[in-house]
Symmetry: C2
Subunit: 474 residues, 2 copies
């Protein structure tokens, strides 16, 4: 049962969009009170009980504003909070996407507990302060500030993006009619490093592979067997080193084959983007970058291979003089338009085979160990492909125009370096999708001490309010 | 104040050495009761309180046997338990060395808690069941079995061998006169993999280096910065891969320079040693070994470089899509006679510099980061050099003869692959030192589920009893 859509009271809608700025700065305290309440609810995707508390919080907040949401549901998935504002006479619909789950946390690495929101300087620290609860709070505040929609509005807030959105395809399939829209606005990711408002028309795809290399079937004393028993940590080092050159170029055969070209508009947008490289290198303490001198904005339009973690035996306090028994590397790969994620994993596996490895998807038994001199376990995680919306569509030009009017010059990027499941909208639903990030780039997203710069929250409310107010015609 | 040496009661000494076997098997239960009590005392070298309980246990056991030990003491070191049995008319003295501390433990990786001794099959599992409490229990039992020393006997049990024996040089210097002896018998290490009694006349030296490679000064989102920000895990992989070839040969310049040659006797001993390689490969699940086909016994006479652990960001549950900020490898190097451990570390550091790294011994600040494209932190741990006692000395031949008479054909190795601080005896004290291991090779020493095969304990008691009974003249 889908409840009837709700019309916002006319009184609330009477404010003008340009008044949003004044509203926000007159209400900073209650906005932050609401936001810290939201951030205090733990939201690691695997924590089902707390994930449910997050969706309940959003439902209550929407109800309080007179918008009765419904919960989209498929088995084993966190519920999607879906809400509608129908505007009389409106012929077009825009849908705001955001996610209320966050990355796993290692509390020991945080200055303050990840779910105890804490202010330091100009920022608020908590898991998902940026990624991706900020847009949800910003949309709620934009409603409070009195937006005046001319398009029908939909909100779509999911709860397992950081786990790779495994049920999103099924949800979209099940609710295909309900989700009919003319435009998806994907509120995720950071703005440009220059702190200018950025929007993006595509995103890289992503997939992940866990790679385990096997040495002796138990840890061995490095004195009694060193020089004789193959060391899986060293084998892994050699294997990883074979994958990229010193400049970061991936050496896996075919890795860059099939990349879809950019249009003239997209090439110009890339060329026009601010060159933040020198400032970023200083900020991150880097005296060099990879990519043979090409700038960041260009490099993120290429596929990538990244070692996101290494582990073998122990380091630090529990380190021991052993030849490890296994060594693990977790590898994420980013995809661009034209490269299928499964195909890219197969290229990686073919490369591993070429280095002399037998590939298995389970831990080897003695028989397998004695048959194959080099064994690699490859565990493939789910993934998805890159997506792009043409910057030349009328609706693309309208979104750019609306935001430039409200926020000044934009950074319009043909693609984001990061990954959001844009392909579901652009490819499965054949609908334009545009990314509207609001978080600061230096938000420690996915790491410890995630934060949002408060100015980004304030600006983000204005950005999203401008879109909620967008004109009917381009 | 050094207490007077104690003479064992004549009654106890009246048994013959050949009765030891019968004694042991008539007393298995009380021997194991004593041993499990000893093993239940946690003995990680850094755990000062429990380390003290271990030395107290040994003191009490020696006192119970009428041998009043004394405690050798220098500031900040666990006490050495030292005990004397003076034999009227004896002109020569032998000193048994063992250590009562053990390697660090990761209880989660053990089947049973490491300090809750547990029997499975033919073995007893606990930290230090082999390394190195077994010889201490064996010596106590040999006393109970009625050994009849003809040499003066000394026991020297230290408590921080697994931490690298950092205070042992100071202790030996302080108690140089007290420690005067004609022969050190170092009871540590495993017997041959064929399960034959092994003795060794040397040991590899060892040193350790912690290597940290630096990427961006915080973890970065792998989507937004992948391909651009240098990844320290990949840099570390490339650096490690540059250190060894696929066959395990170390590529660091000068790494094999200066190795002292073996004598004809030592070469013959190496050639005569059982070739256990095929059986070991099967036991450890290995379809290949390093060393271009050379056998284990030969390879452990070479210096080695071993990656004992890797760590970067996270793997498993807490893994995240980041470019790590640092990557760590802990490297142990084994030394052979003729190669100084400090010189070997300098060769390693020179190699790291040749790969384009700036080396520091502290975490880099922003200035250092912005000055040097590649930064490696190298933390040098203490170490010591290899040592050898000539197999051609009369006392070496006498020990071999004594043990062959008691235990049958021996495996006599010019050097152990592992490291024990033999150099302190051979070089600092200019005294012959011979290694008398009793533990099984497959004891999981230094790893989880350390154990001793009970037959090795029984045999070890006979081995040590034979030495306690050794004739005055060769």
């Amino acid at each position: 049962m889908i409840p009837p859509a709700v019309l916002l009271p006319v009184l609330v809608l009477s404010l003008q969009a340009q008044d949003v700025h004044a509203y926000v700065h007159a209400h900073e305290k209650p906005i932050l009170a609401s936001f810290t309440q939201f951030l205090a609810i733990p939201n690691v995707a695997s924590d089902k009980a707390n994930i449910g508390r997050n969706s309940e919080w959003i439902v209550a907040e929407l109800n309080r504003r007179g918008i009765k949401p419904e919960l989209l549901d498929v088995p084993n998935a966190p519920k999607v909070v879906f809400a509608r504002i129908d505007v009389p006479g409106a012929t077009r619909t825009m849908t705001f996407y955001a996610h209320y789950d966050g990355q796993p946390v290692e509390p020991a690495k945080w200055t303050d507990p990840p779910f105890q929101p804490t202010f330091h300087g100009d920022r608020l620290f908590a898991r998902s302060a940026s990624d991706d609860k900020a847009p949800i709070q910003a949309l709620l505040t934009a409603l409070d500030a009195g937006v005046k929609p001319r398009w029908n509005i939909r909100f779509f807030f999911e709860g397992e993006e950081e786990a790779g959105s495994p049920h999103l395809p099924a949800i979209i399939e099940k609710y295909r009619d309900l989700l009919k829209t003319d435009l998806w606005l994907v509120c995720d990711g950071p703005v440009d490093q220059s702190r200018k408002q950025q929007i993006y028309f595509g995103a890289r795809g992503v997939t992940k592979v866990d790679l385990t290399i096997y040495g002796p079937n138990r840890e061995l004393h490095s004195g009694h067997y060193g020089n004789w028993a193959p060391n899986p940590a060293m084998m892994l080092a050699r294997l990883l080193a074979s994958m990229k050159d010193d400049d970061g170029r991936v050496l896996i055969e075919g890795f860059y084959d099939g990349i879809a070209p950019f249009s003239a508009t997209e090439k110009k947008a890339l060329a026009d983007a601010p060159a933040n490289d020198a400032a970023l290198m200083h900020e991150m303490g880097l005296a060099r970058t990879e990519g043979a001198g090409r700038k960041l904005d260009e490099l993120i339009t290429q596929p990538s291979l990244n070692v996101q973690g290494l582990g073998s035996a122990s380091v630090g306090e529990t380190s021991r003089n052993v030849i490890p028994s296994t060594a693990v590397a977790e590898i994420d790969m980013r995809l661009v338009k034209g490269i299928d994620y499964n195909r890219q994993v197969e290229r990686l596996m073919e490369h591993i085979r070429k280095q002399g490895y037998f590939i298995t998807d389970r831990d080897p038994d003695l028989d397998m160990r004695l048959t194959h001199p080099k064994i690699a376990k490859v565990v493939r995680h789910e993934g998805y492909n890159a997506a792009r919306t043409s910057m030349d569509l009328p609706v693309s030009r309208q979104v750019i125009g609306t935001l430039e009017k409200a926020r000044g010059p934009l950074v319009a990027m043909p693609t984001l370096g990061g990954s959001v499941p844009l392909y579901l909208f652009t490819d499965a639903l054949q609908t334009p999708a545009i990314g509207i990030p609001i978080a600061n780039h230096d938000n420690n997203q996915h790491s410890s001490n995630e934060n949002i710069r408060l100015q980004n929250l304030w600006d983000g409310i204005e950005t999203l309010a401008a879109l909620l107010n967008m004109e009917t015609q381009p």
